[in-house]
Amino acid sequence: MSQKRNLFQIAVGACLLVGLTAACAQAPQPSPTAAATATALPTNTLVPPTATATLTPTPEPTATAVLAADYYCIECHTNKDNLIANAQPVVVVEKESEGVG
């Protein structure tokens, strides 16, 4: 009895194996063209970035971020208003040359 049962199980297993193998053989294999198409998809089809993928903005460099040795130089020379306030008065030089130099 148990021998018959084992034979029945083997037969069922063999049928399933043959069936699955046949199903796999019929499935279309990815062709090189299909693969190339897949890699050439426009980037806007990609999954949009999630909130966790957003880059943290880089902070603007500030005067305090520079070397201490340069503090006064950078503090003044990156400050437009300061430079305007401290600029020497413009001396208009009369053009005395004539013709093309």
Binding site: E60, P61, A65, A69, T78, K80, A87, E94, E98
Partner: protein, 365 residues
């Protein structure tokens, strides 16, 4: 080009410290002192460190600094070659004073091109003290080379188109004049921009005269005509430049008598294996026997030792020009050639080497 405002000339961009060179302390190159007071901070300031490139630039850019030190941009030796041709050693002290007052401001340092505009156009940072690997053309190159090369290349003369390399390809100066060439040591002791091998050379890009060249005229004229003879159009010449110091302000000044457009083909005064051409274009330079008379009498006693119509390579190249349309446009057209009747009588002796005795006859005659 409008000059920069005083503050604009020295405004350092906020992100400068993030960029190459930004990791050095300001005082490493510029000296001065750390102080909130302007005068104290600027005491002993070195405004243009690259004037001493060996000290400030050579640690990292050794090869470039080594050759640049003897380049024409750095030494201005080309001017001295021209001056010495017409002068004598005993006049050198007076001429050196003249040169210091009127010519040496065109001397170029690393920073004059890579950090700031040249001092001859007022100076000031190009971009917040950022070091520019390739300097912007109109704020550096043509700021100095503007009245002739720049105007011709960019097409500033009315009714004369700019150079085809600019109009159609938007080439900038370094497209042809590579950085290695601009930094190169002068070709030889007779320093001159036309000494030594041609560089750039048109043939580097154009297969002129080769077996694949479909233009027969290239083979016919190869090594006989400079490329510009057929492919340039009118360019600027000048007359009689005189320099002096203003009585009124004490500033150096100059006066040129005339500036005008010319196109003259002449004999090649620099014919050698690098420039074998029989015919080249000639441009009148504003040299006069008394150009420097403010600094002394007869400082150019050998004035006639060099031509006043000099070898030139105008930067207004065109594929089609009035002279290259048909053979007879040039071969039967003496108006294009610098013949004796077109040279001032006082300059005939100086220009004997370039005057064309007899323009080419019409083809077949």
């Amino acid at each position: 080009m409008a000059p920069l405002e005083p503050w604009e000339k020295v405004l350092v961009s906020a992100d400068y410290v993030e960029k190459p060179h930004g990791d050095s302390a300001c005082t490493d190159c510029h000296a001065g002192a750390q102080s909130a007071e302007k005068d104290a901070a600027h005491a002993g300031l070195v405004t243009s460190p690259s004037t001493d490139a060996q000290t400030y630039c050579a640690n990292c850019h050794k090869d470039t600094v080594t050759t640049f030190g003897s380049s024409l941009h750095a030494t201005q030796a080309g001017y001295w070659t021209a001056i010495n041709t017409r002068s004598t050693p005993e006049n050198h002290p007076a001429l050196e004073t003249m040169f210091g007052n009127h010519c040496s401001s065109c001397h170029t340092t690393c920073g004059d091109c890579h950090v700031s505009q040249p001092s001859s156009v007022g100076g000031g940072f190009l971009s917040g003290h950022t070091f520019e690997k390739t300097p912007p053309m109109t704020r550096t190159c043509t700021a100095c080379h503007g009245s002739r090369v720049g105007a011709e290349y960019l097409g500033s003369h009315e009714d004369i188109p700019g150079d085809v390399h600019f109009r159609e390809e938007r080439f900038n100066c370094v497209s042809c004049h590579a950085g290695t060439d601009l930094h190169a040591a002068a070709a030889d002791e007779n320093a001159h921009r036309y000494a030594g091998e041609q560089n750039p050379k048109c043939e580097n890009c154009h297969a002129v005269g080769s077996s694949t060249d479909p233009v027969m005229q290239h083979s016919l004229h190869k090594d006989k005509l400079a490329c510009q003879v057929c492919h340039s159009v009118e360019y600027t010449s000048c007359d009689n430049c005189h320099v002096s110091i203003s009585d009124k302000t004490g500033n150096p000044m100059f006066k040129t008598d005339a500036t005008y457009l010319t196109f003259f083909i002449g004999l090649n005064p620099r014919q050698d294996e690098n420039r074998p051409y029989e015919y080249v274009l000639l441009r009148h330079v504003p040299a006069a026997p008394d150009s420097y008379s403010f600094y002394g009498e007869n400082l150019l006693p050998n004035f006639a030792s060099g031509p006043t119509w000099v070898y030139t390579t105008p930067h207004n190249i065109q594929r089609n020009t009035p002279q290259n349309g048909k053979c007879e446009n040039c071969h039967a057209n003496p108006a294009l050639f610098l013949t004796a009747d077109k040279v001032a009588e006082s300059e005939l002796e100086a220009n004997q080497s370039v005057i064309v005795p007899e323009p080419p006859k019409a083809v077949g005659k």
